[in-house]
């Protein structure tokens, strides 16, 4: 990894006996757009400051283009790496152009005035962020979002191969957020190394080629978005349940927070679904805090997608395939261990008839009733109808609300239903 443009080895930063960044190793290559994510106080901003050479590490070192950043002449360093701060305050009435031209500081000699080229560059960057009309306005009079765009343009005016952006889109609307990150992707493609800290995980997944998840000053996870953004990892680091699913429009992962009720029940529930019949119940039981499993599900079924994106354990077979006896044996431990198995209301055909056999193995089975009438289900074979009738005898047939109230009763102290 010695060829990496930006490299941190054993990087540590301690202030007032608190370790903010803790012996952290990281290497960022040119062409990468790395998103640094993590809870508040995880050390994201401090990491960026250390990488930019703005703080002197307590231990470890940062190598910029192979050289130790602390020993580098400061203007030389500023020609290699720029840092976009979150501090957007300015008390004096500098114009936007004057602010942008400050980005040329490391490129100019002490008595050298900014030339036409510098101004041209500043204008070009300003037009990239769509603020050409603001060139002569006072920076301090702009809105928060506009100021953030100007500071981003200033980082571009500085013209460095490394860019460190500290929450560059925190004040931006979705249009300008897209503009900043699209430009950032472009910069990475040009061969620059970009590291941005950000809070919005879906945005991070959409634009970054790699994510670094920080927790208490260390890297909890580092990899492609799909390697890092997993419900179980996010639950551990952020302490909140999430659903991670690919966006239908862009294909990138979206992270949705799925809150849980307080005082959750720990009842183990297995859901047998298919064709989306378990979606509603999955949501509600998940919220109640039931320990859920699901299956046997067919690939690409909407039940299966939901279970997977919530990190619910489930057994999956290939789409449109027939569930075999062997697969039923394999899934048997789910229904045998579950306090409760719920047979949802799905059409029964050749492929999923095995799920009815699985239901018959359940320790305790509840059949979901979808309406006032008993079992208005579709059966594509007589065998299915027969198996279903067997399943119903000797088990409770409850509707959605009845199941929930049973579980709530269980939570509030009485025994498992």
């Amino acid at each position: 990894m010695s060829g990496a443009f930006l490299q941190a080895c054993g990087l540590t930063w301690t202030v007032a006996h608190t370790t903010i960044v803790d012996s952290l190793d990281l290497a960022v290559e040119r062409g990468e757009l790395v998103g640094v994510i993590g809870p508040n106080g995880a050390g994201k901003t401090t990491l960026l400051r250390l990488l930019a050479g703005l703080l002197t590490p307590t231990a470890g070192e940062v190598l910029l283009d192979g050289r130790e950043i602390g020993g580098m002449e400061s203007r030389r360093r500023a020609r290699l790496v720029s840092f976009m701060t979150q501090d957007m305050s300015q008390v004096f009435p500098f114009t936007v152009m004057e602010i942008l031209l400050m980005g040329r500081y490391p490129h100019l000699g002490r008595f050298q005035k900014e030339g036409t080229d510098d101004r041209e560059r500043a204008r070009r960057m300003l037009s990239y962020v769509g603020l050409t009309a603001m060139v002569d306005r006072a920076f301090s009079g702009l809105s928060g979002g506009e100021r953030q765009l100007v500071l981003f343009a200033k980082a571009l005016v500085q013209d460095t191969d490394g860019l460190l952006l500290d929450e560059p889109s925190s004040s931006l609307d979705i249009l300008h957020q897209d503009r900043i990150f699209s430009m950032t992707q472009e910069l990475a493609r040009e061969g620059r190394a970009v590291v941005a800290s950000l809070h919005n995980l879906s945005v991070a997944a959409q634009y970054c080629s790699r994510l670094v998840l920080m927790e208490k000053g260390r890297i909890a996870c580092d990899g492609r978005p799909e390697q890092v953004l997993k419900p179980e990892i996010l639950d551990e680091v952020y302490g909140i349940r999430t659903m991670v699913s690919p966006s239908l429009a862009t294909g990138s992962l979206t992270v949705t927070v799925v809150p849980r009720d307080r005082g959750a029940t720990g009842t183990r529930v297995h859901l047998i679904g298919g064709a989306g019949s378990a979606v509603n119940l999955t949501r509600e039981l998940y919220r109640l805090g039931c320990s859920l499993t699901g299956g046997i599900a067919h690939e690409y079924d909407s039940d299966e997608k939901l279970w997977r994106s919530l990190g619910i354990g489930c057994m999956t077979v290939r789409a449109f395939s027939r569930i075999t006896d062997e697969q039923i044996r394999e899934a048997a431990h789910f229904v045998e261990q579950a306090d409760l198995t719920i047979l949802c209301s799905f059409p029964v055909g050749q492929g999923n008839i095995g799920n009815l056999r699985l239901a018959s193995l359940a320790r305790r089975l509840v059949v979901l009733k979808t309406g006032p009438e008993e079992v208005p289900r579709t059966f594509f074979s007589e065998e299915g109808r027969k198996l279903f009738a067997q399943a119903c005898t000797g088990s409770n047939v409850l509707d959605h609300d009845e199941i929930l109230s049973e579980l709530l009763k269980a939570r509030d102290g009485s025994a498992v239903p």
Binding site: V15, R49, A52, G53, L54, S74, R75, R76, R77, A78, R79, S82, F83, T85, D87, S89, Q90, V91, F92, P93, F94, T95, M97, E98, I99, M102, G103, Y105, P106, L108, R110, F111, T116, R119, E120, R123, V135, D136, Q158
Partner: protein, 355 residues
């Protein structure tokens, strides 16, 4: 390369040139007035004749002996002292405001002036002042440095970027040193009312060429060196972190600027005592005129500070002849309302205490 220069920059340059021209002309006029007006009026004709002959432009006979004495020994040194002190304090005001990105900073508010006064009074009380002419400036420099060191240490502790913090810290230092100054003067054997007033309020009366002789060789180069740091001051207004990331050596620059500003303030105070409000007021007025870019603001404030103090001194001499109102009183009367309006305006923009 003959690419078109954007319209905007040409306008700015033209406006700056005009501002500097107007300031210079006003300063020249103020100097002439300052030399001509006083308890004993010197007719403009003999003043002009004196100047023309002295500059070797004509071989007319020199004017009246008495007028020459007044001009050479009283008026000129006084006006030159006003110019030097005015431009020094205004320049240091610009530096302080930029350095601490704080519109309420100035050598006076941050305690540099009070430190300088204390130094002078220590020198007087300890008896050094009678030994050497340079004792007082040496001690005023030391006093201003002490204040600057306090401010530096206070501003370098983390998480202290609020606008009010540094101002309140400066005021505390200022009060402490002013109090010590008063106490020393009251208890010293050489206690004289005029000295008490001079070292608490400042004044330009009785300033001679001696004062110019030791101060100008420090003040003029000091201001020139400070103006070399105009771009660094621009970056400081973005915040120290931003300045650092743009490749400025922030701590070194900060120390160099504070040391030079303390030396310049100290020497200016040795000449005039602690004259208030110049360092606070002038940078703001000139920012309206030439904008916040320190490359224009520093020289413009130097001119403006000189002009302001010459005029204030003139006003003090012309208002109630034959009595003189001290220049520090005039600047305070003109400056205090402005300070109040500044505070109100800043509060309205609710930037006080904000990052």
């Amino acid at each position: 390369m003959t690419r078109r220069v954007p319209h905007h920059d040409a306008t700015v340059n033209k406006r700056h040139a005009l501002a500097f021209l107007v300031l210079s002309l006003l300063l020249a006029a103020a100097v002439l007035l300052g030399v001509g007006i006083g308890a004993v009026p010197v007719p403009p004709a003999s003043l002009i004749r004196f100047l023309v002959v002295k500059l070797g432009l004509s071989s007319l006979p020199l004017p009246d002996e008495r007028d020459i004495t007044i001009l050479l020994l009283l008026r000129f040194p006084r006006v030159v002292a006003a110019m030097l002190v005015g431009s020094s304090l205004a320049t240091c005001g610009v530096v302080m405001q930029g350095l601490f990105r704080n519109p309420m900073a100035s050598p006076e508010i941050l305690g540099l002036s009070a430190g300088g006064s204390l130094g002078a009074v220590v020198a007087i009380t300890a008896g050094f002042a009678s030994g050497s002419l340079l004792a007082i400036p040496a001690f005023t420099i030391a006093g201003a440095m002490l204040s600057a060191a306090c401010i530096y240490m206070l501003s370098s502790s983390r998480g202290t970027t609020s606008l009010l913090y540094i101002v309140i810290a400066g005021m505390a230092i200022s009060s402490l040193f002013s109090g010590l100054t008063s106490a020393l003067l009251l208890f010293s054997r050489e206690y004289q009312v005029s000295q008490f007033i001079f070292w608490t309020m400042g004044g330009l009366d009785g300033r001679s060429w001696q004062h110019i002789l030791y101060s100008a060789p420090v003040l003029v180069p000091g201001m020139i060196v400070l103006s070399f740091f105009a771009r660094e001051l621009n970056l400081f207004t973005l915040g120290e972190e931003e300045a650092l990331s743009l490749g400025m050596r922030v701590e070194t620059t900060k120390r160099v600027l504070l040391v030079i500003a303390a030396v310049v303030t100290g020497v200016a105070i040795a000449v005039s005592g602690p004259i208030g409000f110049v360092g606070l007021l002038i940078p703001h007025l000139l920012r309206f005129l030439v904008g916040p870019d320190h490359r224009a603001l520093l020289p413009a404030s130097a001119l403006g500070g000189a002009l302001f103090l010459v005029l204030c001194d003139l006003l003090g001499r012309a208002l109630l002849p034959p009595f003189e109102i001290r220049v520090g009183i005039i600047t305070a009367i003109l400056g205090s309302p402005y300070l109040l309006s500044l505070i109100v305006r800043i509060q309205r923009r609710s930037v006080v205490g904000a990052r």
